[in-house]
């Protein structure tokens, strides 16, 4: 099964993946707010997040995940679009977005334009 591996340590925050995604899904159009991948920023770290499900209620609990030297805000990593974090609602149309892997077989355009190695397509 193919997966996209995300390496936060490598991401440089250039957001080229966002432009690749919107160019691939909306003909001749570039808009990060119409992309199914967004890069979240926290200090010097960047978290590429790929759109998952749309939910109409936010979580009642808030989580912090600590892995060794770094604490992650679970909301920043979460793939869902919710009232708390209104990402992945397409600007201009209001449609909830979800990653479609750029077709079958998967050929994600975000991975193709990611030059830092933060996004990689791996077979398992």
């Amino acid at each position: 099964m193919a997966r996209i591996r995300i390496d936060h340590a490598k991401c440089t925050g250039c957001r080229h993946c966002e432009t690749a995604c919107s160019l691939n899904h909306v003909p001749n159009t570039v808009n990060p707010r119409r992309a199914r991948i967004r890069v979240m920023r926290d200090g010097t770290r960047y978290y590429p997040v790929i759109a998952g499900p749309f939910v109409d209620a936010a979580c009642t609990s808030k989580l912090f995940i600590e892995t060794g030297d770094h604490a992650y805000d679970q909301c920043a990593l979460c793939r869902a679009s919710c009232p708390e974090k209104p990402y992945f609602i397409e600007a201009e149309t209001g449609i909830p977005l979800k990653c479609d892997f750029c077709g079958i077989p998967p050929a994600p355009s975000c991975v193709r334009w990611c030059n830092s190695g933060a996004l990689e397509l791996v077979e398992e």
Binding site: T12, H16, T29, N31
Partner: protein, 607 residues
């Protein structure tokens, strides 16, 4: 429109009003956008005699047509104004994400006019444009301002998508050394513009938008970008040197050729042990950070350990290592990193500030000025005094006032103007023009003062990317300088960064430009636009009172050979090259564009 938006936001701070205007497509055809567009509007609307700090001066933020479209390195936002340091045009190249966000907010350009009564912040958030009072931000450093503004927004998710460009305390105090800092990146080559922004009482501009940009031929555009990414990856300078160390990799190369200046451009021997790339690796934990849509990622972030700045800092670039480090005799990377951080926090231009410090140090060394007079022991290599001076000058209290007026004013007040190493009032970027002749000619003739990013000839002279040239040789350099100056004018106008020219040819950009904009430009068409922009800037500067006497390097570079090091014995032959350069440009011997040159470029009205 493709690439361009075609809308301009005009903000009048005196009246507190704003207006949205259409941009005439004819101007875009003639000047592309970005720097060219900004300079055109500025020279049409502002008199060259305007006092830079008066409300009549305007401040133009303008993004090029390729910015935000995903075009490789399309991130540049140019800030055009009349500089309070040089009295000439100033055009800062702001990288980061601000330029792209401005396009997503639905504007190519922001024109700021007038002067607000009290401190204000201009915020553009999803079509809501507001001029908010900013008293609580006044006096704060750039990163504090950004953090506080984002906290005050009340919506952490919207705050993550908002980008700020603003001034620090140096700009508020109207120091000629101040520049604008964007997204905690340093803006490049913009000494004096921070003071203009401060004189308008405008602390910062915040943008967030959600509009779409359109490209003409998306599938071709994507293909072209794939090829360009591959090209960049196969060139070792961009894929290895730049992405590993940023511009700091130049330190070693420049040192080998005697280009790295030391102690106010006097020496050339210094051990690289403490400041080379090896030392950089061990001094900082490097993390790459990119501007919008840049596959190279030359900006390196790290943590600077210091009680005053326990935060995230930027690893010194070549400019910082050269201007704030070696040229001040400092070879401690941690101190250079701190100095660079202070410049970013205070909103100072590192080149201008470093040049001022080096001038002060030489004045003290020659006993023209005593350390007691400046109340600070600025000696070459005294990094503590350097850091103290940088922190002090932004407060503009007492003796620091004298330093804050810049290197030229300081040298003149001590009656040794010859000790200031700069052109048009701006300190030289840290490249010794005696050991790199072409860049020396560029420094002398550049419309914006001696900054390498408006004509980075060292790509050919030193790195031999497109042509194999000898940096010490003057042969053929005027043509090289003209070509690079025009190329850079085009790239700035499109909104592209010029560093990737280390791995790409100018021709590689043309399919990307055409598929994005739906135009049919050829290389020659674009170069003609570059020449038009350069001449337009030149005519503005001439009307502002600059003459060919301003197109020269300080006496030291022409008469004193380099004392030691690899470049020993070299002097600059700028005065021999200049007539040929004027001739190639179609200018007369006084450096004034000939009427036929201007009419061939379609600039008759600027004659």
């Amino acid at each position: 429109m493709n690439g361009w938006i075609g809308r301009c936001l005009r903000v009048n701070l005196t009246e507190g009003k704003h207006r949205i205007e259409e941009i005439h497509p004819q101007i875009l055809n003639k000047f592309l956008g970005g720097r060219g567009h900004g300079v055109k509007i500025f020279s049409d609307e502002v008199s060259p005699q305007t006092d830079p700090l008066s409300p009549d001066n305007k401040l133009i933020f303008v993004s090029g047509p390729l910015v935000g479209t995903g075009a490789i390195t399309g991130a540049s936002c140019n800030v055009v104004t009349k500089s309070s340091l040089t009295g000439a045009l100033a055009c800062a190249k702001m990288r980061g994400h601000f330029g792209a966000e401005l396009k997503f907010a639905g504007f190519d350009m922001i024109i700021v006019e007038g002067k607000a009564e009290g401190p204000v912040i201009l915020s553009i958030r999803d079509d809501k444009i507001k001029i908010d009072p900013a008293l609580e931000y006044w006096g704060r450093s750039t990163s504090e301002t950004e953090a506080l503004y984002k906290r005050n927004m009340g919506d952490p998710w919207a705050a993550r998508e908002t980008f700020l460009a603003g001034i620090g305390p140096a700009g508020e105090q109207l120091l000629p050394l101040a520049n604008i800092v964007n997204d905690r990146f340093l803006s490049v080559g913009g000494a004096g513009i921070g003071a203009v922004m401060g004189s308008k009482n405008l602390k910062a501009i915040a943008v967030k938008g959600q509009h779409s940009l359109h490209v003409a031929d998306g599938s071709r555009f994507v293909q072209v970008i794939n090829t360009m990414i591959n090209k960049l990856n196969s060139a070792s300078l961009t894929s290895q040197s730049m992405s590993q160390w940023g511009t700091a990799f130049l330190v070693g190369l420049c040192h080998q050729k005697g280009i790295l200046p030391q102690n106010n451009f006097r020496l050339g021997t210094l051990s690289l042990k403490n400041i080379g790339t090896e030392a950089l690796n061990s001094a900082f934990a490097l993390r790459s950070r990119s501007c919008f849509a840049c596959p190279v990622g030359c900006i390196k972030k790290t943590d600077v350990k210091h009680p005053a700045y326990e935060g995230r800092g930027m690893v010194p670039t070549y400019l910082a290592i050269g201007a704030l480090g070696v040229n001040c005799g400092v070879n401690d990377l941690a101190a250079i990193g701190m100095a660079n951080m202070i410049c970013a926090e205070m909103g100072l231009d590192p080149v201008a500030a470093g040049g001022m410090l080096a001038t002060a140090m030489e004045l003290i060394e020659r006993k023209t000025v005593t350390p007691e007079e400046l109340k600070i022991d600025l000696r070459f290599g005294n990094s503590d005094a350097m850091l103290e001076a940088l922190r002090m000058i932004s407060t503009k209290k007492g003796h620091a006032k004298r330093l804050g007026q810049g290197g030229k004013a300081l040298a003149e007040s001590a009656e040794r103007p010859d000790l200031f190493m700069g052109v048009k009032g701006l300190s030289l970027a840290p490249f010794d023009p005696r050991a790199i002749q072409g860049l020396g000619l560029h420094f002398a003739t550049c419309n914006y003062g001696p900054h390498h990013l408006y004509g980075n000839t060292f790509i050919d002279e030193l790195l031999n990317v497109h042509e194999k040239l000898d940096p010490w040789d003057a042969e053929g350099k005027p043509l090289l300088v003209k070509r690079f100056q025009d190329t850079t004018a085009v790239m700035d106008s499109l909104g592209l960064c010029s560093w990737p020219l280390m791995g790409l040819k100018f021709n590689n950009y043309i399919p990307m430009t055409n598929s994005c904009l739906g135009t049919e430009y050829k290389a020659d068409d674009l170069m003609a636009i570059g020449e038009r922009i350069w001449n337009l800037e030149r005519t503005f500067n001439l009307r502002a009172g600059l003459t060919s006497n301003d197109d020269t390097l300080p006496e030291r570079f022409v008469t004193e050979p380099i004392a030691d090091g690899p470049g020993q014995g070299q002097v600059s032959r700028v005065n021999e090259m200049r007539p040929e350069y004027y001739h190639l440009r179609g200018w007369n011997e006084n450096g004034e564009p000939l009427p036929e040159t201007l009419s061939a470029l379609g600039l008759e009205e600027h004659n």
